[in-house]
């Protein structure tokens, strides 16, 4: 007789929940487990529960941690042989809207939506959503340069961690017309020290931008939630800090990326910015140079703008805006994805950044 796998089901612990979150596996795939051994943790709306193996055998699992699994449906299997075949289990991909207005997404559209962490609420009442519709929403022509595809997780690695249910609920209720739940804070930063530093360093090109990118990149290591992106109810932390530097000097907006900005010294960053500006002028900034950003700095200080709300780029969680000097102060603005963090965390980041920049008054660097 064939060794039928024992199916482990999601128990109906919380009657109000249609799905539970698989928060962690406590045993590996094909690992030998004993009956009664804890194999997984699941999170309901009320509690985190431990799930025990109903029988001894080899655990066979295919679901990722952080997946939502319908209550009463299979979670994994216990097999008698480590290599015995088991059925596939599919996680819930998209929570359907309660009413019949939920949009239907083509496979490619769904992938894009997932990739860009666009909430499905954006499509309520819009019927059938195809790839082109999502690209249009992202401001990209389906036939133009595919920036979204360029900014892929291929070149930048990240760590994924599921968000708590409370954060998801917040997103669902608060969300309005954007692919992120954008919020912003701003601080005033004294300009005197930066001016002086710029004067000492002709390679800065007369702009404090290099110092701002340099300092922000270092700070992002301490504030990883702003060097991350939201996707499918999870926060994904980038392993690298790649600072996009928005340039718009009459040839269209380009966001060339300064890779590993947190590991480069200020001089290197300044030179890279000057090179990028030259390349921009020569129309040499291609898709490659613009891909892989994990955070963005946009400097409108030269435009006389005091304060603005920069738009967070796809697959990022924050963007730093630099406003014009006014009465001895720059305005620094951090727009961030409220699905991942709160105003207080953003304020802390900005305060730290301001402190670092203010230190230039003392002759740094």
């Amino acid at each position: 007789m064939a060794n039928e796998p024992v199916t482990v089901f999601i128990p109906r612990e919380a009657v109000n929940d249609l799905t539970v979150r698989l928060s962690a596996w406590r045993a590996g795939d094909k690992e030998k487990v004993e009956a009664g051994q804890v194999i997984a943790e699941i999170e309901t709306s009320k509690a985190v529960l431990e799930l025990r193996a109903p029988a001894a055998g080899f655990l066979r699992r295919s679901l990722r941690e952080g997946s939502d699994v319908p209550v009463g449906s299979p979670l994994c299997f216990i097999n008698q042989g480590a290599e015995d075949p088991v059925p596939e289990i599919e996680a819930e991909t998209a929570a359907p809207a309660a009413d019949g207005l939920a949009a239907r997404l083509s496979r490619k559209a769904a992938e894009l939506v997932k990739q860009h962490a666009i909430p499905l609420e954006r499509f309520v009442g819009k019927g059938l959503i195809r790839e082109a519709d999502v690209l249009a929403l992202l401001g990209q022509s389906p036939h133009g340069p595919d920036l979204a595809a360029g900014v892929s997780a291929k070149s930048v690695t990240f760590k994924r961690q599921a968000l708590p249910k409370s954060k998801l609920a917040e997103a669902r209720y608060l969300l309005s017309g954007s692919n992120s739940l954008a919020s912003s804070v701003s601080v005033a930063c004294p300009t005197r020290g930066l001016r002086a530093a710029a004067a000492r360093h002709p390679e800065w090109g007369g702009s404090p931008a290099a110092a701002i990118v340099f300092e922000a990149a270092r700070l992002l290591r301490e504030h990883p939630v702003f060097n991350a992106f939201h996707e499918d109810g999870a926060v994904n932390y980038y392993d690298e800090v790649n600072a996009g530097f928005a340039v718009d000097a009459g040839q269209g907006l380009k966001v060339p990326v300064i890779r590993d900005a947190d590991k480069k010294d200020l001089g290197a960053i300044a030179r890279e910015i000057q090179d990028l500006l030259l390349a921009y002028t020569n129309g040499e900034i291609g898709l490659e140079a613009q891909s892989g950003g994990t955070f963005t700095v946009t400097d409108l200080s030269g435009e006389g703008v005091l304060c603005f709300q920069p738009l967070i780029n796809q697959r990022q969680s924050a963007i730093l805006g630099v406003g014009a000097e006014c009465e001895g102060f720059y305005r620094l603005i951090l727009a961030f994805d409220h699905r991942l963090s709160e105003g207080r965390a953003a304020a802390r980041f900005l305060r730290d950044l301001r402190d670092q920049l203010a230190a230039y008054e003392g002759g740094k660097p």
Binding site: A103, R104, S106, R107, K108, K126, G127, L128, R130, E131, A132, D133
Partner: protein
Amino acid sequence: MPRENKVPDRGELFRQGLLMRAVERKLLELFEKGKLSGTVHTCIGQELCAAALAPALGEGDVVVAPHRCHGHYLARTGDVEGLVAELMGRRTGASGGRGGSQHIGAPGFYSSGVQGGMLPAAAGMALARKLSGKDDIVAAVIGDGTLGEGVLYETLNIAAKWELPLLVVLENNLYAQSTPQAQTLSGDILSRAGAFGIALFRADTWDHAALAQRCAEVTRKVRESGKPLFFVVDTYRLMAHSKGDDDRDQAEIKGYWEKDPLERFMRDEPHAAAPLLAEAAARVEAAVAKAQTAGGAEPHEDDEDPEGTAPCSWKPGGFSSGERCAALLNEALRRNLKRDERVLLIGEDIESPYGGAFKVTKGLSAEFPGRVRNTPISEAAITGLGAGLAAEGFLPVVEIMFGDFMALAADQFINQAAKFRFMYGCQGRVPLVVRTPMGGRRGYGPTHSQSLEKHFLGVPGTLVLALNGRTDPGAVYDTLLAAIDRPTVVVENKLLYGARFDQPAPKGFTLETSDELYPTVRLRPQGDADLTLFCYGGMLPEAEAALEALFEEHELLCELVCPMRLYPFNVSPVLDSVRRTGRLFVVEEGQAFAALGSEVIARVAESAPGVLKAAARLAAARHPIPAAPELEAEVLPGAKHIVRRAKELVHGQ
């Protein structure tokens, strides 16, 4: 109209016979002069059969005559003017000038040009009389050439088994057109009919007194017994089959001229014959003169389809029911049997307990005894029988067990039933319903899986509907049996029988139903469609699956249009869609060559020049349908084939 069972005396017989001969000689003369077109089949030499038979029939009786019908028409109606005008193609002709020599209709009289083709209808008319409790009979006249037609034996079998008041008169003139009987007939004539247990009688046109007596005897016998009777009348055609195409032995012909009673009467008793000849000549000349001044034949008023391009309005939703299609059809047939006594179900294996190959008639024969009838396996006969019943005011619903067998019924539907209204005027209204399942995907193999409906599309005067999984199948029969005015094929589907109507419209698509009598359904995407997908009947589930896959996997939005009425075809719903999409993709399960899909593309293209930017067809592979499931799935167009072809249509090959 003659009174029944009258035995005409010699004078009356000869008067009628000479009139027939005068009329036909005049017809041949007119033909020579180019005043007639087509053909003229004279009965010169055989007249006394008609002259003796007609007086034996009553007002409620019917004569169903073959192609050689002039004598029987004249004997039955006395209408020289109508006959002459008919052959001259005048609107005052018996059939409005539309039928010509072989296709003449009058109250109580039908003739048609296919050998034996009208026999099943004659049996149907006989059944109608029996069901109505009348003692009227049907006299079906055939020639000995018809002995080669299978439908004769199908009809004799049913008539004997069901005890129908059908008198079959066989005018045995020894030749089938030019072929002598000895070349084509095995065995003998009488034992053919005798094998069915039918009473046999024989007479000839040379002994006219005995013939007249016999005619009265056989009609009385059929009337009294209510059973069929086979009556052979030996005779000889003195003239050619039609016009000058006579290869028979001249000495033989000469011998029969000398033997002919009318010739002998004119030769031996000229004084007695003269006034009869004069009377006949006068009537013929008057008829010709009158016909010459009459207007030409006019087209049949029914030939134009009023709904051919009629726009329709749409309401959201389709039919929904948890019941299986077969159960809904069963209920609808029950409902209609109950509602209207004229409704009859006829078919092979349809009685309880079997209830039909697909169980659509289950239980109905027990509930409606005598109105739900098992038949022999005789698709042609039962279809024609239905046509005869329909012509007599019944509402027969004939089940053809498999759509493939419609080929056996084709002559009855296409050549006979479809023409009644045209040939026979108002008495030719034929509310005949033929239900049949088409389609494969059940592994039944080459002769039980086809979609042959295209061969029944485009027959003027008929209606062809195809049931689908989004429209109430029962309501179709409610509507049809209330509104039917012409022979109708309802294409059912083998897979549909087991299906329930409980699938919601594909998410993101709006299901709509038109306000047509036989509604079209469509699925419209919420968004701009890239193409119009057209299908009907059993293809709908495959088309819907393709529509979903095209969106899910291939970024293409389809608008799906699925009509119920295939013929006459209203182009409006599909044209309306193509105006939005510019692309038309037609999908059907039968063969693509010269089929509905091609027709739809052509209609769209010619209805709105410039609107159609691209078109494609998908149908079964040019291959008989195999039984092996994997192979069958490759031969028949499925969702995956539709997806592939749709992508090619939109993106180019």
